[in-house]
C-alpha cells in the first residue's frame, strides 16, 4: 500500500467490498451494524434530551448557572471520547458486557454517548432562552404574563431555532462517538473499520468508513430539513443567522 499501483487497487477493492451483497447482510454485516449504531444514537440522543433540555431551559429562564452551562461545552471538548470509553469499558461497571440490542459494551457506549451529547444540548438551550431580547420579556411581563406563561408562550418559541441547532450538534457528536466505540471493541459500524485495520483488510475498513460518513451526512441533512420545517416562527432575515448554527461552537469527535 505504499505504491501508486497498490492504491488504485485499494479503491477497486473498496468498491468491490461495497458492492458485494454478503458484506451487507448477516450477523455483524454492514446493515446489522448500521442498525445497531442508529439504535444507539437515537437512544442516547433521546436520553440526553430528556435529561439535559429541561434543566438547561429552566436555568436559562431563571438566568442562573450560566457559567456552568456555557463551560460544560469547553470541558466536553477537552475530554477525548476514546479515553472516557476506555475508562468505562475497563471499569467493573459498566464494563464490556453485552447489553441487549446494543451489543458488546453497549451500556458503556450508551453512557459515553449521553455524556457527550449533553454539552451542546445544554449550552445551546441555555443560551437560546437567555438571549431572548429583554424588551420582549419586559413586554410579556407588562402584559401580565406569569413566569410559566412567559416561558411557554414567549421564551420557548423564540428559543426553538437555537435549541434545535443544539440537538443537531448533539446528533453529529453522538454519531461520531458511537463510531469511536469500536476502538474499545464496542458496537456499531466502527467495529468493521477497526477490524479491517487490525487484520490488514484495509479495503474493508475504508468501505465501512464510507458508509459511516455517508450515514452521517444523511443524518445531518435530515436534521437540517427537520429543523427548517419546525422553525415556523416568521422572522426577518438576520445577518447573524449563520451564527445561530451553534452557540456552543463545533464539538468534534
Amino acid at each position: 500500500m505504499d505504491e501508486g499501483a497498490a492504491d488504485v487497487n485499494l479503491f477497486q477493492l473498496t468498491w468491490e467490498y461495497l458492492t458485494t451483497g454478503s458484506n451487507w447482510t448477516g450477523n455483524g454485516g454492514l446493515l446489522d451494524r448500521l442498525g445497531e449504531q442508529l439504535l444507539l444514537t437515537v437512544t442516547a440522543l433521546l436520553v440526553a434530551m430528556v435529561v439535559g433540555l429541561p434543566i438547561a431551559l429552566w436555568l436559562g429562564h431563571i438566568g442562573k448557572g450560566g457559567f456552568l452551562a456555557i463551560n460544560i461545552s469547553n470541558i466536553g471538548r477537552a475530554i477525548p471520547t476514546f479515553a472516557l470509553l476506555a475508562v468505562l469499558v475497563t471499569a467493573d461497571w459498566p464494563g464490556s458486557g453485552e447489553f441487549g440490542p446494543y451489543g458488546r459494551a453497549g451500556l458503556a457506549t450508551l453512557i459515553a454517548l449521553v455524556l457527550f451529547a449533553l454539552p451542546p444540548l445544554i449550552t445551546n438551550a441555555y443560551v437560546a432562552v437567555r438571549e431572548v431580547p429583554d424588551d420582549i420579556k419586559e413586554a410579556a411581563i407588562g402584559m401580565g404574563m406569569s413566569g410559566s406563561q412567559r416561558f411557554w408562550r414567549v421564551e420557548l418559541p423564540l428559543a426553538m431555532p437555537l435549541v434545535m441547532s443544539g440537538i443537531r450538534l448533539a446528533l453529529v457528536q453522538v454519531w461520531a462517538t458511537a463510531t469511536i466505540a469500536a476502538l474499545v471493541a464496542g458496537p456499531g459500524v466502527g467495529r468493521i473499520i477497526v477490524d479491517g485495520f487490525a487484520r490488514n483488510l484495509y479495503s474493508q475498513g475504508i468501505a465501512a468508513a464510507v458508509v459511516v460518513a455517508l450515514a452521517a451526512l444523511v443524518l445531518e441533512i435530515g436534521a437540517a430539513t427537520a429543523q427548517r420545517a419546525v422553525d415556523r416562527v416568521p422572522r426577518e432575515p438576520r445577518r447573524t443567522e449563520r451564527r445561530a448554527l451553534s452557540a456552543a461552537g463545533p464539538t468534534l469527535s
Binding site: M1, A78, V87, T90, A176, L183, I206, P250, L252
Partner: protein, 240 residues
C-alpha cells in the same frame, strides 16, 4: 487489534513483587507505573504534541487564504461554509480511513485528517473575526491612505485577533482530544497508550494517558490565552 499495539512494547515483567499496576491489583492511578514507563509516556506525549501542532499549522495555513478569498467572493463563502460543515459531520474514525488510500498508514494521515477538522473551525472563526472589525475603523484607515495589504496586516488582523484566537482555542482543544483516534493507523500519540491499556485491561496506563491528554489541552489553551494577552495590549483592563 494486534496491529494497533505495534508502537507500544509489551507489558514489562514484574520484577519486584506486585506493584500497584500489576494485573492483580490493577489500580486506576499508579505513580510506580509513571516512573517505570516514563520513556514510553514521554515519547507518546511528544508524538501527541507533534501531531497536534502540525495539524493546527496545516489548518491555519489553508484556512487563512480561504477566509480571505471567501471575504471577497460571497458566493464562495457559502460553498466553503457548506463543505466545512460537511467535513465536520464526518466522524474522525471514518475520516482517517478515507485518507489512507492517499497517505497510507502514516502520521501524515492523522495530521491532514485532523487539519481538515481544524480548518472547518478556523475558516468560520476567521470570517467572524474579520466581520468583528468595525467598519468605521477600516474606513478611517483607508482614508489615511492604507493600501489593502497594509490595512489587512496593520489594522484588520490585530483587531480581529480576539475572535480569531477564540476559534484557534476551540480548534486546539478539539485537536488534542482527537489525536487519540489516530491510534487506528498507529499514530495516536497518547491514544496508542489508551488503546494498549484497553486491550491489556491495564487501568493505570489508560488513565494516565487520558489525564495527560486533558492536561495537554489545558496547557495549550493557557498558552494561547497568554499569547493573546501579549498580542493585544490594547484590550487589557477592558471587560471581556
Amino acid at each position: 487489534m494486534t496491529l494497533l499495539v505495534g508502537a507500544v512494547p509489551g507489558a514489562a515483567p514484574e520484577t519486584d513483587g506486585p506493584s500497584c499496576y500489576s494485573a492483580l491489583v490493577n489500580e486506576w492511578w499508579c505513580a510506580q507505573y509513571v516512573q517505570d514507563r516514563q520513556d514510553e509516556i514521554v515519547d507518546a506525549t511528544v508524538q501527541h504534541l507533534g501531531i497536534t501542532v502540525a495539524a493546527l499549522l496545516f489548518g491555519v495555513v489553508i484556512a487563512f487564504p480561504l477566509a480571505l478569498l471567501a471575504r471577497r467572493l460571497p458566493r464562495l463563502e457559502s460553498t466553503i461554509l457548506g463543505v466545512s460543515t460537511g467535513i465536520y459531520t464526518i466522524p474522525s474514525l471514518a475520516l482517517l480511513p478515507l485518507m489512507v488510500p492517499f497517505t497510507g498508514l502514516t502520521a501524515t494521515t492523522v495530521v491532514i485528517g485532523l487539519g481538515l477538522y481544524a480548518l472547518t473551525v478556523l475558516v468560520r472563526a476567521m470570517l467572524d473575526a474579520f466581520r468583528s472589525v468595525p467598519d468605521d475603523v477600516v474606513e478611517s484607515a483607508t482614508g489615511l491612505g492604507y493600501a489593502p495589504t497594509r490595512l489587512l496586516f496593520k489594522i484588520e488582523l490585530p483587531l480581529a485577533l480576539p475572535v480569531l484566537m477564540a476559534g484557534l482555542r476551540v480548534a486546539t482543544v478539539s485537536t488534542v482530544a482527537l489525536v487519540t483516534v489516530g491510534t487506528l493507523v498507529a499514530y495516536g500519540g497518547l491514544g496508542n497508550l489508551i488503546s494498549h491499556g484497553v486491550q491489556r485491561d491495564f487501568r493505570a496506563e489508560l488513565v494516565t494517558a487520558g489525564v495527560l491528554c486533558v492536561l495537554l489541552a489545558l496547557l495549550l489553551d493557557v498558552l494561547l490565552v497568554a499569547l493573546q494577552w501579549l498580542l493585544t495590549p490594547w484590550t487589557r483592563g477592558l471587560p471581556t
